[in-house]
Amino acid sequence: MTPRGHRISVEVNGHLHEGEVPARLTLVDWLRDELHLSGTHVGCEHGICGACSVLFDGEAVRSCLMFAVQADGHRVTTVEGLSGEDGRPGELQDAFCETHALQCGYCTPGMLIAAHALLRENPHPTEAEIREAIGGNLCRCTGYQQIVEAIEHAAAKLVERGAR
């Protein structure tokens, strides 16, 4: 059996990308290998570690558990899409730098996606809500402490900015 390729058209970080993919190609592999968006990382390929998290139609999902062909006609945001219009890091990314919320950086894009999704829905999260939101993203470097602090810091900054 030689599987045929599928034409897909996906909006990634605001730009329409078209391509032809074999059905078995995962979304994360397509993003990385075809679109060269290498910020989304592969950690376990079985849906536990969260390193490959992206926004799919605005919701945080694991891109190793989706096939690229399933994204046809949908909207995907990766870590590269979290930066501002000017290409500079956004408030949340800046907060990760401020509190040193990363070390090796490998889980960082997935953490940012999870945190971004949280803050969009819940601008004033409690510590418990933050931990729940990133509970599906494993980090081996930080013990999560400075990540929680970063998200709290970003929430405060975003609220402050919104208030101005």
Binding site: A23, G47, E59, A60, F67
Partner: protein
């Protein structure tokens, strides 16, 4: 960890999905959220020849109240169900259970019907379906049939669904008594892991705090989730004293045949079944009483 090659078809309607399943034969499988199927495919433990994608079938994504049931299309996202105001009000056990399912990212994608079709004996939604005696509507090109959740599961990861059938809808009964309480509890090693054992309970009390009806069940401690309607039946008319609940939980646990794995022995699972069945019943009772006292308004 790359899936073996397969062919892919995206269905735009239930009819089309059914037709694809029939045409593509035994090697075809539905993919809904894919949160269980995709890892199995990555490990090549599952190797469908055809994947029929039902994520873009609009008729499979809805939550509505109709008759005495809360109904959800099979492809309704778990996260949507967890946060749906009607579901929280009318079938609170659902959102109570869903908070234990994986993580937000997996619930954003995982579906109600997918969880039932996957039939993991420790999964939360199959347990809730059994405890509430949900009705599962099933479609194929041969037509539609409805079955009770308890008749769906036959063993670990196995159901009575034929290869060409898809779950269309799950309908959970709404308990309309004035004083209803429910509770879901489980023990997993980490938050979000599969339960070692889970328990769910729902009770309705009359104005005198006597049990009108009750239902409870245990997951992860047998080949399928197990509800205990006969035992629950014995609670009707009684005041749900702690000792009665403890006895019932003990009897339920004794009726189970738990398996054993890396994380828990059969002995431990049976013990947890008793502890958790008891806790879920106690908590459900207390919530029903609190409701009766007007302390909780949902």
């Amino acid at each position: 960890m790359k899936a073996a090659a397969f062919e892919y078809a995206r269905a735009s309607s239930i009819e089309e999905a059914c037709a694809l399943l029939r045409e593509r034969g035994d090697g075809a499988r539905l993919i809904a959220g894919g949160q269980s199927l995709a890892p199995m495919m990555a490990m090549r433990l599952a190797r469908p020849t055809w994947l029929v994608d039902i994520n873009d079938v609009p008729d499979l994504q809805y939550i509505r109240v109709e008759g005495e049931r809360l109904r959800a299309g099979a492809c309704t996202r778990q996260r949507a169900l967890e946060r749906d105001a009607r579901a929280i009000r009318l079938v609170p056990l659902l959102s109570q259970a869903l908070q234990w399912v994986g993580h937000i990212q997996t619930r954003n994608r995982g579906t109600a019907g997918g969880s039932l079709a996957h039939a993991d004996p420790s999964a939360e939604l199959p347990l809730v379906a059994c405890v509430l005696d949900a009705e599962v509507s099933v479609r194929s090109t041969r037509g539609r049939r409805a079955l009770r959740a308890g008749d769906l599961f036959t063993g670990p990861m196995t159901t009575t669904l034929a290869a060409d059938e898809l779950i269309e809808e799950i309908a959970w009964p709404i308990w309309r008594e004035d004083h209803v309480g429910s509770a879901f509890t489980e023990v997993s090693i980490r938050h979000g892991d599969f339960a070692l054992v889970a328990a769910a309970a729902q009770v309705a009390l009359d104005g005198e705090a006597r049990c009108l009806r009750a239902s409870f069940g245990v997951g992860g401690a047998d080949a399928t989730p197990v509800a205990f309607p006969e035992l629950a039946q014995t609670l009707a008319g009684a005041r749900l004293e702690d000792s009665i609940i403890s006895t019932i939980a003990e009897r339920a646990a004794a009726a189970l045949d738990p398996g054993e794995d890396l994380h828990a022995s059969a002995h431990y699972r049976r013990h947890l079944a008793k502890v958790l069945a008891e806790r879920s019943l106690l908590e459900a009772r207390d919530r029903a009483i609190a409701r009766r006292a007007g302390q909780i308004r949902q």
